[in-house]
Amino acid sequence: MIRKYLAFFRACWAISLEYRAEGFVWMLTNLLSIIMMLVWLSLSSAGPVAGFTSGDFVAYYMVGLIVRHMTGAWTSFDLDTSIREGTLSPQLVRPIHPVHWYVAANWSEKATRLGILLPLVALAFVLTPSAHLDVTPVSVGAFLLSLVGAWLVSFLSDYMIGILSFWTSQTAAFNQVMWGLKLVLSGILAPIQMFPPAVQVVLDWLPFRYMLAFSNEIALGQTQGERLLFGLVVQWAWVAFFFLLTRLMWKLGTRSYSAVGA
């Protein structure tokens, strides 16, 4: 399996280098986080908003840039295209599950772009002395664990939408709804603490917070102790859920693909 992944990486890496300019444009799409940061900075210029100082907002959105970068997933798009154009067929007759290719593509693109993103984020922290991170062994460990979890929740939920293309041509619509939900509920638009308490309780149980905000909160030292543990349990429960769901859906999906016509 490792040999297969190495071969996949090699190819995916070469593809992403073919499209360097594209990678650069992709970097710019992180602008949304920066825009939201600027909006909150304009609101917090008079004083802290719900406990967030300007420095907190900078730290939150800068960590968020990295988390969003590391958890970004676009497999549904590729899978939808493959299914519609029939290019999935050649992949299905190969003795390896197509998802491994998508995972390799996902990772290799991230690796290419992380090198550009990290220095920029570091620079932002240097320029904003009031932006603090919680750097303790526990929080760093928890952050990394939550980051892996966040990637899995994002990737698997996106993969799930991709698998839906076996039955429907509405993948784009599902993606839009997913994006809308993520925009508001995962912490892109606003940190979860900006929501009314009742909403926050609900968000504790939904998967969205665990795609982004949860990791941000850990990095800022806002979620600690028991709440941290609780969050990790819920996050990984969602990982398990999506894992099992996508496995089942893939099985049914390829079956129905075979029924309708490949």
């Binding site: 297969k4 071969a7 593809i15 073919e18 050649p90 299905l92 007759v93 029924a259 490949a262």
Partner: protein, 330 residues
Amino acid sequence: MTSQIEVDHLSKYYQVHEKEPGLMGSLRSFVKRKYRDVKAVDDISFHIDAGERVGFLGPNGAGKTTTLKVLSGLLYPTRGHATVLGFTPQKRETAYLKQFTLVMGQKQQLLWDLPAIETFLVNQAIYEIPKAQFEATLNELDNLLDLESVMKKQVRKLSLGERMKCELAAALLHRPKVLFLDEPTIGLDVTMQARIREFIGEYNRRYGATVLLTSHYMADVTALCERIIVIDRGHLFYDGNFRALIERVAPYKILRLQFEQPISRLELATFGEVAACDGLTAVLHVPRVQATESATRLLSQMKVDDVTFEEPPVEDIIREVFAGRVEMRD
């Protein structure tokens, strides 16, 4: 001993929705949809032994591709069943996937943006081909297909023919025992078609691989396949030896003659059936068994300027098959 490919009473139906033309038709089908079953493949049976080269003939929509897809495990049969190498294709077991290959002339597996060699390397990993074997196979394929110059160029910059060569190479690196080739020469020029055809024949001889091929081009089939299976609208029309079919449907050869001086129909009638005659030239249908003898007689008895033997056009023969004038099996 059972056959390598067994297809028994295989049927595959699709549901399609129908629509009347025009705005009203669109609106009507928007509200209420009418569905209809299309029988892509309807109760087809055949067996193929190891090392056979079988041509799948039929017009567009005959069910050729559908059958190949069932055999590759991409489609579930509606009824009946198929086994290949003892496997049930739609279970898609790894052991099975490693032993066959599917090449579709209109779809590609090569990575579009990279040189073909990158796809080869990816496939090496996917099919777990040992390094030594990979290099040996690649070397042989290179000899047969002359890949050296093309496999290092980006696929999107290759010509259609070059791309097909690489596509075949990528599909054969793991030395599959069974080859499903769906229109492998589509869109290629005549020389390249012949090239690909020769290669497939050579691969079959060298590795004893079974080849099941569909093609629009009769030449592909006549050059490659001893056996043909003719299907149309999902039904099997003929399955058997290609030569035998020709001899049965067209038990004659075509003799084209050019004379030094005008000749009449009547004089020619003793040598065979006169298909055309305009004085100086004539076309005769001569029974196969007597062909040589008739020609010799002709040459000795008349002043013949030029004479050629031809096989009846395959297209005509197949048309006969579709018209239902030929028995199903030989």
